[in-house]
């Protein structure tokens, strides 16, 4: 039976969960915003360019993918807007970013659940590259 006690319990749990999430997200969010103002992104993008060949993407796509990984999806979409891409390229970049994005924030959240997060990050990055390669190979021309 649903009583006031039930609602109160849910509300309290909600507050506690919100507090736990906030403690994690606030510092990471600030750090990531600072990061976006430094040359780090461009530097990492240059390192990532060789992978673009494997997934059938132009070199400039590396910037969008790095932004998606280190910042968030919205920033990556913003970066993609400035590029000239066909449907296949847009879909491939989208797939890779969907699998691996917001690594700092989302990993911090996963860490709160008590699991080993290093392997999660590695598997995401690995997964996104494999998926990109599969899509590149399997796209019907």
């Amino acid at each position: 039976m649903v009583t006031l006690v039930t609602i109160k319990k849910g509300f309290t749990k909600g507050l506690h969960t919100f507090w736990v999430l906030s403690k994690v997200i606030i510092p990471v969010y600030i750090m990531v915003t600072i990061l976006s103002k430094t040359p780090v992104l461009g530097f990492v993008a240059d390192l990532t360019k060789p992978i673009m060949n494997l997934v059938g993407l132009p070199g400039e796509a590396a910037t969008a993918i790095v932004i998606g990984n280190l910042l968030n999806i919205y920033a990556a979409i913003g970066a993609m807007g400035a590029m000239d891409l066909n449907t296949k390229e847009i879909t491939t970049i989208a797939l890779m970013i969907l699998i691996s994005h917001s690594l700092f924030v989302e990993t911090a959240i996963s860490k709160k659940t008590g699991v080993n997060v290093t392997s999660l990050v590695l598997l995401r990055i690995f997964g996104s590259i494999i998926a990109g390669m599969a899509l590149n190979w399997g796209w019907p021309e």
């Binding site: 039976m1 649903v2 039930t6 609602i7 319990k9 849910g10 509300f11 749990k13 909600g14 507050l15 969960t17 919100f18 736990v20 999430l21 906030s22 997200i25 606030i26 969010y29 600030i30 915003t33 600072i34 103002k37 430094t38 999806i73 919205y74 979409i77 993609m80 807007g81 891409l85 449907t87 847009i90 879909t91 970049i93 989208a94 797939l95 970013i97 969907l98 699998i99 691996s100 989302e106 990993t107 959240i109 996963s110 709160k112 659940t113 008590g114 699991v115 080993n116 392997s119 999660l120 598997l123 995401r124 997964g127 494999i130 998926a131 599969a134 899509l135």
Partner: protein, 158 residues
Amino acid sequence: MARIETIFNVGFISETLVGLFKLLAEMFIIVIPLMIFMEVLKNLNILEKVSGWFTWLVKPFSLPIQAIFPLLVGLVFGIAYGGSLIIDAAKEGTLTKRDLYLINLFLVINHSVIEDTLLFVAIGAKGFVLIIFRFITSFLITWLVAKYLLTPKRLESS
């Protein structure tokens, strides 16, 4: 020194604060009703029934029925919300370390399926392809890891 002054100006502070506020507000609006909703479902014993419809989702990874709701929430709403349910389950002790890891793995690769996919469809991506490939990737990787993480001894070393 000039570099630091360039980063930490008024524009940066207001940009960060606005962005943070929007993010936290969105989280608050979803987390509170979600936890209340979950408590109500639990109370009415509906949670177990609905979870029963989705056992096919977790059977390949040998996960318990309690893993289903966090997975579904994460798939639909996103990692923060699926994650909060996982944190809750971890506190109550209803899921093992192995369960927690596998749910996390599946979700980090595949979450917020509707919203995130639509964001990219809006700029010209093929939504159907995105959903299918993302599900295949998450299923494949989680399944492969589940095969090797079956032994508890493996968990203690990680």
